[in-house]
Symmetry: none
Subunit: 199 residues, 4 copies
């Protein structure tokens, strides 16, 4: 790993800067998240960020990787620990909601990046691969349930895209409505999802 070649203090500095970038992204939005603003938050100079990351794009990449790793670390073991696909899918939804609840800022930052990062002309967005991977992972859970006969015979890709859409929509809706009832939300979504997927 690249981190092996970095000193401890170097790694700490990077983590601090990433944290400040997340704060600014979540609190003030992608447009305000300039190098100068992030540097001010970290109480360092703009040049220091370029020094540690090599530019803005690599910093944003690092934020995405960081948050994605946090999410993966938190959610994947929890889902895989379930005995059945039905419970695994339930755990998938609940783990996502818990992540929103417990890591609201990093998630907001990630969403700011994914939705606002400019894409190249005619091409896909720079973080579309991230979304593709999430879809692919979800499809595996769905395949698990179909293999065991717990789930009916829906098209896995369509269902995966739809479910990711639901979760992302909930996350997005939570930005202007942070007081939304998480428990009601979890119950409703799990019920709905069960009805939609069970044989």
């Amino acid at each position: 790993m690249a981190s092996e070649s970095r000193t401890f203090v170097e790694e700490a500095r990077r983590a601090q800067i990433i944290g400040c970038a997340i704060d600014v992204l979540a609190d003030e939005g992608y447009a305000q998240a300039t190098m100068a603003r992030i540097a001010k938050q970290a109480k360092i100079s703009p040049g220091a960020i370029s020094y540690h990351f090599g530019g803005k794009a690599p910093l944003i990449d690092a934020v995405v990787s960081d948050v994605a790793r946090m999410a993966t670390d938190m959610m994947v073991p929890r889902i895989l620990a379930q005995p059945t696909a039905t419970e695994g899918l339930k755990a998938y939804v609940e783990a996502n909601l818990d992540f929103m609840r417990q890591h609201r800022k990093p998630l907001l930052a990630l969403m700011e990046i994914i939705t606002h990062a400019p894409r190249e002309s005619g091409g896909p967005g720079p973080y579309d691969r991230q979304a593709e991977i999430a879809i692919r992972d979800l499809e595996k859970v769905l395949e698990w349930g179909q293999r065991t006969g717990e789930f009916r015979d829906f098209d896995r890709h369509t269902m995966a895209v739809a479910l990711r859409g639901v979760i992302d929509a909930v996350a997005e809706h939570l930005i202007p409505h942070p007081d939304w009832d998480f428990d009601l939300l979890a119950r409703e979504l799990v019920t709905t999802l069960t009805l939609a997927t069970r044989r």
Copy 2:
């Protein structure tokens, strides 16, 4: 109406510029949709856009209004024409998918604007109201079905947010996958939705 006070040629020019803005937004993304780029697309000078719209923000507003009106005109009558809420909800999904198919570019442009338009610090995005209205409208359809007893007793708001999320996710997924099978998509979504909402 405001359009009454504009001449025919003026209206045509505006429509042309809106069309070019849609093209650039859909093809190259919000970040590339500068006045200069849109003007180049329309083969006019940047100043001419300001002349007709008064600035970039009013132009973007005009694009949003234009596409929103197109969508409303196409979808609302179709949904209201259904005899039952079940069929109304089915029509809702199908109408949305048809709009994606028939007006791919305008829809992409609209989504670019909604997701990329910078929001004020801590505040909502400028077009979040548009999304709120869409949720509200969908809730009415859901209420219809619950009143007639066609739908089970789910939380309407959660379901509306979820369903809008599914549709937006499908639209977003269609950007890098324009060859996705619409018919399969429609069948799967309607089936899933029926299972998820029926009593």
Copy 3:
């Protein structure tokens, strides 16, 4: 005169445009007095102004000439009608104050132009000549009084510049304080001036 070569309607159009330019200049200031704004005031197109005057600079020139002519027509005969220089100087001040009172808008417009019109690099302002002429005229009145022995032996140029300065300052001060007592003003200035100039 140039006006001899213009038709009656042409002259009327010019007068109308000059009047509208005066309105905009006086009411909204030099910075807001764009061709488009003046054209809107006159309910014609911007092109029409260029057609009649040949550009913005000639229009501004015309405004200056127009107001200067109004002022001259009103004030010069009144001053020359006085039997003594002392009364002539008194009439000079009173005529200026009366002009401010009776033609507030044209005067404001003129002052906007004189103070705000851009000057060429290193050179004098475009309407400095106008001011020089006013000084020169005033010097003649002062010379009259010195010749007759009514006035003491001050430096005419200094006194003329000073007196013009007083009058211009009063006019300028009247912009934010339109309710200033004209009669008090006239009495005080005449008294002061008498004391300052008499033998």
Copy 4:
């Protein structure tokens, strides 16, 4: 003080930029005093000015403050040092003339700003308060003389406006006539003023 929080080099850069702004304002006028022109004068980039001042308006503010402070520092102690109001008023005029002589460019720059800064529609100019303060200060000197019985019973406000007008007119007149005889000027103005104000 704000300057305490700036480094020495930072303060020096600001002073240099203010100096260049003064040069451009005085030599070429307000209209030519663009960020680009001032930057060129300072042999830096336009962005560097924004970096140090935050924009054009704060730069102009800084110029005004700087010159106003220079003027105050030079003139106020000199006036207050006089034993009588008569001599105080004489010192007022002479100090103003000396300031014109010794700080011609900064004064010209200040006048360019005061007269040319665009005012809001119907409202006062942004630096009108500066002028009001000058009037108020002058009124205090006049009141001093009336209280001691040195001055006659004129209206102080009228006299203050008039005297400021004289001084400003002299300054303005010096722009196209830099060779005007300062000593003659001072003698004439002081004599005139003495006659105009003495009991």
